[in-house]
Amino acid sequence: MALLKLLKKSPISARIGMVIVLLNILAAIFVPVIAPYGETEIVSDVWMEMSEDHLLGTDHIGRDLYTRMLYGARNTISIAFLITILSFTVGSICGFFAATLGGWVDLALSRVVDIMMAFPTLIFALMVLSIVGTSPFALVIVIALLDSTRVYRLSRAVAMDIEVMEYVEAARLRGEKIWWLMRHEILPNSLPPLVAEFGLRFCFVFLFIASLSFLGLGIQPPAADWGGMVRENAGAITFGIFIPLWPAAAIATLTVGVNLIVDWFLHLSSGLED
């Protein structure tokens, strides 16, 4: 009920964001039911115009673009979501540990993170992928680890502030173990900034995967993926066929949507009136 009341008070920008995200999630879940064709099924001539049979036309080898877009939503969003979850698990656990333990653990972790952040992320990721190859597994691990450095910074900073509170001190004197402290004292109190960061990190990871796929080094064909679809159809644009703009616009729309929700959430958790 409280949630419903909150939603009723939400500003129009956040509502737009929620509709966008919801539509994307629905598309990702129900693709097999709503997609008119198969993911890699060749159904027609290349680069057909929009028509009733092909809502958005067809791609460079004659697959239905609308179907590919739906499957792209499923592939790209799920892998980005998986990476963000992994990155948050690793980053926040390390960050909390660094903050509560302090000493050499904090020092060692922070120096490693400093070094990783001194390197441009895209370049770092490309170098690592050139060594370990572009399997989906490698992709997930590499991006999650690279991204967890940012989560580490934030969760460490937040946990540092909570760690000095009296109730943490009290729990410590009571003899609680570090794991309990992290779960029952630090995690609940650091949730709002972490949730907002989750949205932003998701956007970043999502754009990052799209960029990698666009460079041909992310999710590998024939799996449908928005970044890869832009790359495959890029040649069309010089003939005045704007097919590559569709998946690119889909990427942009979803990121804007998530950003709108995060803005609203930040506004709510900052406690400002209006």
Binding site: A118, L122, M127, L217, A234, I237
Partner: protein, 312 residues
Amino acid sequence: MIAKRLALGFLTIIVISLLIFLGVEALPGDLAEAVLGQNATAETVAAFRAELRLDLPAHTRYFTWLGHFLQGDLGNSLANGRPIADQIIWRFANTLFLAAVATVVAVPLAIFLGILAALYRNSLFDRFISISTLSTISFPDFFIAYILVALFSVEFVFFPSMATINDHMSFWEKIYTIALPCITLTLVVMAHMMRQTRAAIINVLSSPFIEMATLKGMKRMRIIVLHAFPNALSPVINIIALNLAYMVTGVVIIEVVFVYPGLGQLFVDSVSKRDLPLVQASGLIFAITYVFLNLMADVLSILCNPRLRNPK
């Protein structure tokens, strides 16, 4: 302070070079096996290993590699056997040219618009700037690039959609050819710089000395240009340098979109071909440029701020 920062930057580069070197070391098997594949005979692998000097211990090879790198000898490409340095230098110069032109356009424009946004806070113009910031953060770089191509080289034929430059072109021909990648890069970095300039100036505007200037009856534009801007210079310079560092990465994707013969494209190609010596060399150059620009951001903001310049 500055010396300390420089030493730290130098250390970072050393650590990065070590990481890049060790990354290739961590390959299962070694470079020779990775390149020749599973079908190679033991003799071929051994011969190739000797050619790459893989039979020497790791630390010796690291120092030889780093020493050669500093002298400009980057080894040979695995894909075509040609010296890497010959390919890289021309391309790196091209990348720097593109980034420099974009900087010359983006920085003054961003500062000017940022000041305007601070001056007319909460106006329609200010709204427009915050919306465009949100969109450039959310839009993938290649989306902006393809929209520009669709608009300015397909619908209205103003600029070429491919930015293939060569040395026979005059300076202005080159500028014309790289117009679209340059505009894309400008758009990508400008929104951020604009917003930070606006924030920095609004921050300074709340200081007592600005109120004093207002009470003296100075004009708003004059207050901002003469009093607020010089005091906001330190964060603004910092932001500019950081965005230039961002450009180093952004340029990779834009070069691929416009088939621009720069280092970014070479880097992506060598990654997909797994031409590891080339990946190492161009990765190190990117990393050094990035660290150098970040360093410059720190040093310049120290120089701009008297309190940091003269530590107690």
